[in-house]
Symmetry: C2
Amino acid sequence: MTERPDVDELTPPDRTLMGPGPSDVHPRVLQAMSTPLVGHLDPSFIEIMDDVQDLLRYTFQTDNQWTIPVSGTGSAAMETAVGNLVEPDDNVLLRTSAYWGDRMAQMARRVGGNVVDLDVSPHAPVDPEDVKDSFAQNDIDVFGFCHADTTTGIRQTNVPELTAIARDHDAYTIMDCVTSLGGVEVQVDEWGVDAAYSANQKCLSSPPGTSPLTMSDRAMEKVLNRDSPTKSWYLDLSLLEGYWGSDRSYHHTAPITNVYALYEALRLVAEEGIENRWERHRNVAGKLKAGLQDLGLEMFAEDEHWLHSLNAVKVPDGVDDKEVIAYLLEEYDLEIASGLGALDGDIWRIGCMGYSAREKNVEYVLSCLSDALEQQGYDVNSSETANVSPMSN
Amino acid sequence: MTERPDVDELTPPDRTLMGPGPSDVHPRVLQAMSTPLVGHLDPSFIEIMDDVQDLLRYTFQTDNQWTIPVSGTGSAAMETAVGNLVEPDDNVLLRTSAYWGDRMAQMARRVGGNVVDLDVSPHAPVDPEDVKDSFAQNDIDVFGFCHADTTTGIRQTNVPELTAIARDHDAYTIMDCVTSLGGVEVQVDEWGVDAAYSANQKCLSSPPGTSPLTMSDRAMEKVLNRDSPTKSWYLDLSLLEGYWGSDRSYHHTAPITNVYALYEALRLVAEEGIENRWERHRNVAGKLKAGLQDLGLEMFAEDEHWLHSLNAVKVPDGVDDKEVIAYLLEEYDLEIASGLGALDGDIWRIGCMGYSAREKNVEYVLSCLSDALEQQGYDVNSSETANVSPMSN
């Protein structure tokens, strides 16, 4: 017999989540998670699925029929988009120097795509001129880019220009809007995006477990006319059509409770109104940004490309970024994050997403961070711009 | 603007789940689902992950280091096992006439495996002699089989004989124990299984969203020494090692809340004791089976291969299986299921899993089914064995 482990009650600490995700989950969404289950083929669940699809369309600002929650976390939605749209020997244009571009490239190569590198800096928005050059020099089939980069806090502000280049070359676009959907303006139809995916646990403030995906009819036509099936059975959209389409036949068991949670999280989006929600994120994050600058800290992103939902802040000289993170977690039950990949050690990442995007949370972050910086010997008040104590705001 | 949908509060009906899964979720598990989240890299979550792994090892009866919840529902765990263990040009022995064998075959082919068909009836356990013959005639690398078949209610009772054949030929085994883990005896180490996967929403009575997987060291050696990477990045065990192994580095965001739920569900398994739990399922299902036979119904599986957790019952002549299912759902909020695939119309599938495996539920099923059969003009009392009304038990 394998021994019976002795395990305590589940008593995780009560964190305030101001990192790059998950964000704090709204109490109504937490409550939805404890709703007793119905079967994944129950007629009442079919209605919930229909409503979730409608709510997702509203949130993505799209009429795409093909708008579903994928049965996995954000990277599963990324893999669904890449794995279905990219066929063997397709040329896939990606900025591989960027964290998410590299991840998409790994996925594209595994399913037989040829990755064409968009060889530009990962720490600035993509310049449409560079994209034009790449399209001129290569026969690109699919172009993937990131709308809201969680690693840099940079927002791609000219998406319609990027998609227009791709359309001019009969190519398809995949947009990563993991960190923007539901918090920062996303306009799938108006921007002419073919495939867009996101995650629950960022600006939607729903627990990770499903992940929003939308595909244009044009993109689905490519998917449904593939010469060879996708490499993944679980994430094959042509099979998922049987479940999410009109047949409602069994493919795999949907994560029922996570769909409940997403339903409630999206209902909160609809109640607030998507435009009001974007505005709230802009306003609350604006206070966060101003407060960080008052502490003498410098934002990583230029103002015009600043991503409201993810505030990347440069770590001042002489301050240990990891010690600050650990101090905030231990002393204040507050989560912020370090840089990821190449930016590890250079920045902190402070989220302002969904239910976490509240003034209360912003004040808490600024106050705790001020203390943490002082612990590191950093003189908050001596900084040029720090004339106002964040607690007196 | 895409229009804002008007969606009601989440008020699903209060079902009693006695189908092939999901089963009723224990109140303690539902409560765990509403626990506020911590980050997926939070030190406190790392402890929870460790505990979940220990609890899964106990439930699988294995010392396998590589025992994790996959971040998707059951078919994702199946695809993880198949997609990692099967390399291009591997010969994979599967009973493709069986529902789950066919699904594994679709997955194996997509990742480049050559499927060798174990050409036997899908409606009986696999005979080791047939497996021996297949191994003698083909150079098999991987052999997949189903321990507990949700489509037929048949239990494979001689697993150690099957794995011994594979080992004699230096092949690897994959065991589907989706419908047995936590309810019907599973002994991964004692039975010599290389890879076994399951689902939360059956005998573990946790909502779908993660799915248990265990891999032997021998199997992981094959996985970690593949010539080419797996086709899926999301389900690549060599990358998941970074997160679930000692590094605890970011791969993808785990479905935190589903891990909480699984933690609590597995704690319930440990509290009850795995052997007691198997015995409870046997006893409660025994009452269900006796009651069904008292109604004059015939089990699909032979007694010696009867799967306690899934009772497949033949639909009597003149009775419309779908009408009975709809009647039970509408009149009694009770879910049972029809046959899947080839058995559609021939059987009902009545689960007896996890928190649903209670005498109260069994009595309810028998009483409601008795009424539903009478509605169909089936004379419950005239059946030869139906001397006792199920309600008077």
